[in-house]
């Protein structure tokens, strides 16, 4: 009891000393700090407002579009000829073209990217990692128009040596370059996911007489699977949104052909075509631009949200 009292008086004594030397009202330095805070908040606000404005514009123009074209025709029609008579607004050929390129790219990028990630995180020495990682980042930084040009001037001619009847613009070369383009993303993000698996799990597995291959395939990859899956999804969403390379490489022929040797048109390539063309503002052809853009936006948004959900679950495992 006596001790507590003594403690109380010490605290009281201290605060009176503080009061004597400084005021508790806001000093000038703190006002400066809140000014900076307001400015930062404003910047954040601007980006939120811009995003919201874009989304509102997309959706309102899309609603206008659906006043003249029925959703059934848009989503289930198989002919896409909005720019000339007789006009037809079935978006499936564009979705098909996008899918063809995306699936082709995924077939190339996912196994190779995962293999590179496994190599980097489980087998490569620190020295090798330090060389390969920046190279991957460099690859990810190449402007996509360069990939498109590369497809036209190198990949397609090379493919022509093997498949003589391949068209100048074709889905295959687009898929190949988009695959190369998203590979660094798969490799880097999967590598991060695998490296987040605690070392102690690897040690536990080795101590049970596992080989490095077993440790990798049966402990590390399953433990990091959600992160790896998220990297696949992000790369796929990047492939779906990819524009320059597919426009240059795959051409502008809306097409539901099964053949990857023919020219197709992706959703993004259509947007480029209309944006660069002389389509009058306000007409129905112009509104298709927004309908396709909204569709693209929703598809990639859903994929990104799903991958975010998967990633969050992954975090819960090792808190």
């Amino acid at each position: 009891m006596a001790k507590e009292m003594q403690a109380d008086t010490t605290v009281a004594g201290q605060s009176s000393v503080l009061k004597a030397t400084s005021s508790i009202s806001l000093s000038k330095a703190r006002w400066g700090e809140s000014a900076i805070k307001i400015w930062l908040a404003l910047c954040a606000f601007v980006s939120v407002v811009t995003t919201a404005a874009i989304v509102i514009l997309l959706f309102s123009e899309t609603l206008n579009f659906f006043e003249s074209v029925s959703p059934a025709e848009f989503f289930f029609g198989t002919t896409w000829t909005p720019l000339f008579e007789p006009s037809s607004f079935g978006v499936l050929p564009l979705i098909w073209g996008t899918m063809l390129v995306t699936i082709g790219a995924a077939i190339i990028a996912i196994p190779t990217g995962l293999a590179s990630a496994i190599y980097l995180s489980e087998y490569a020495s620190d020295r090798v990692r330090k060389i390969i990682k920046p190279v991957l980042e460099l690859l990810a930084g190449i402007p996509t128009v360069v990939y498109g040009y590369f497809a036209l001037t190198f990949v397609t001619p090379a493919l022509r040596n093997v498949f003589p009847d391949i068209q100048v613009f074709n889905a295959l070369s687009a898929a190949i370059v988009v695959g190369i383009m998203i590979l660094p993303m798969v490799a880097t993000l999967s590598d991060n996911a695998l490296r987040a698996v605690p070392i102690s799990l690897r040690q536990g597995a080795y101590a049970l007489g596992a080989t490095s291959y077993e440790v990798t395939t049966r402990v590390v990859v399953p433990a990091g699977l959600s992160g790896v899956m998220a990297s696949f999804l992000l790369a796929i969403s990047r492939a779906i949104g990819e524009t320059m390379a597919v426009t240059l490489a795959a051409g502008q022929t809306p097409n539901m052909s099964l053949s990857m040797f023919e020219s197709i048109q992706t959703m993004t390539a259509y947007i480029v075509q209309v944006s660069l063309g002389d389509t009058p503002t306000g007409g129905i052809a112009y509104q298709t631009l927004f309908a396709v853009a909204t569709l693209l936006f929703v598809i990639t948004l859903v994929i990104n949200i799903v991958s975010q959900i998967i990633l969050n679950r992954f975090r819960e495992v090792y808190d």
Binding site: Q203, G204, Y206, A207, G209, P222
Partner: protein
């Protein structure tokens, strides 16, 4: 200089292994790049006994323990010299397969490290990758019983192991190691992350296990070493200061440093 109650606990250089030993260390030196972490350590690890390694932090206990099942192979720059005899072969011999060594000499780590899999699959994992082809149900039950965990988890074998408490996770890791039916079980401070009740559980467990296994345990807890072990090695700065039957180490050690350490008087 040091007088031993039981001469079989010291190795004889250049002779075959003592029949009572599970492992024999002969002039073992361990380096991390140019740093020497273990210096000229020699002693025998008796079969079906518990051997404790004690000593101040950083003296090389974990390093020595990891060398016994070649877990040091994963540490960049680590190098082991000298002889570590196991089944009449040097663990670091040219033809030795480290994977096989780890299959026969299991390890339990300081921090429980169950796989993010079900309780059942944590146990069955080791045997399955090592080509165990019978039904694993019995093996899982047997291992969990040996680790005194069966009653607590038998109704939720397919739940995630990560939902178990720390003490249960550690017993799961012991069960996981036992499922491989190793000859030697190495434990690096297995109770340091556990509460007194879980610790008591694991100590009881060790008494039961030594009928079938040889156990080497690193511990910072003097009472634990005194309670559970039959032999104790006291290390300091990489040197083996004294090795003897535990009772002797804790009652009448031959070296003054040992006495100071086990009684808590640091000099």
């Amino acid at each position: 200089m040091i007088e031993f109650q039981d001469p079989s606990i010291l190795p004889e250089i250049n002779t075959p292994m003592n029949k009572k030993s599970a492992l024999e260390l002969r002039k073992v030196n361990i380096f991390y790049s140019d740093n020497q972490a273990v210096k000229d350590v020699s002693f025998n690890i008796r079969r079906n006994r518990i051997t404790a390694i004690i000593g101040p932090s950083g003296c090389g206990k974990s390093t020595l323990l990891r060398s016994l099942n070649r877990m040091n192979d994963f540490v960049e720059g680590a190098r082991v010299e000298g002889e570590l005899l196991f089944a009449d072969e040097n663990l670091y011999g040219k033809d030795v397969d480290p994977v096989e060594v780890r299959r026969r000499i299991g390890m339990v780590f300081q921090k429980p490290n169950p796989f993010p899999k079900s309780i059942y699959n944590n146990i069955a994992w080791g045997p399955l990758i090592n080509g165990y082809s019978d039904s694993t149900d019995e093996l899982v039950e047997k291992s969990l019983k040996q680790a005194a965990l069966w009653d607590e988890v038998k109704d939720r074998l397919h739940d995630s192991a990560l939902n178990l408490s720390g003490g249960q996770q550690q017993r799961l890791c012991i069960a996981r190691a036992l499922a491989m039916e190793p000859e030697v079980l190495l434990m690096d401070e297995p109770c340091s992350a556990l509460d007194p009740i879980s610790t008591a559980h694991i100590e009881d467990l060790m008494f039961e296990l030594k009928e079938r296994y040889t156990i080497v345990i690193v511990t910072h807890n003097m009472q634990q070493a005194a309670r559970v072990s039959d032999y104790t090695a006291f290390m300091e700065m990489g040197d083996l200061i004294e090795f003897n039957v535990t009772k002797r180490i804790f009652t009448r050690p031959s070296v003054k440093r040992t006495e100071e350490y086990v009684t808590g008087r640091f000099g």
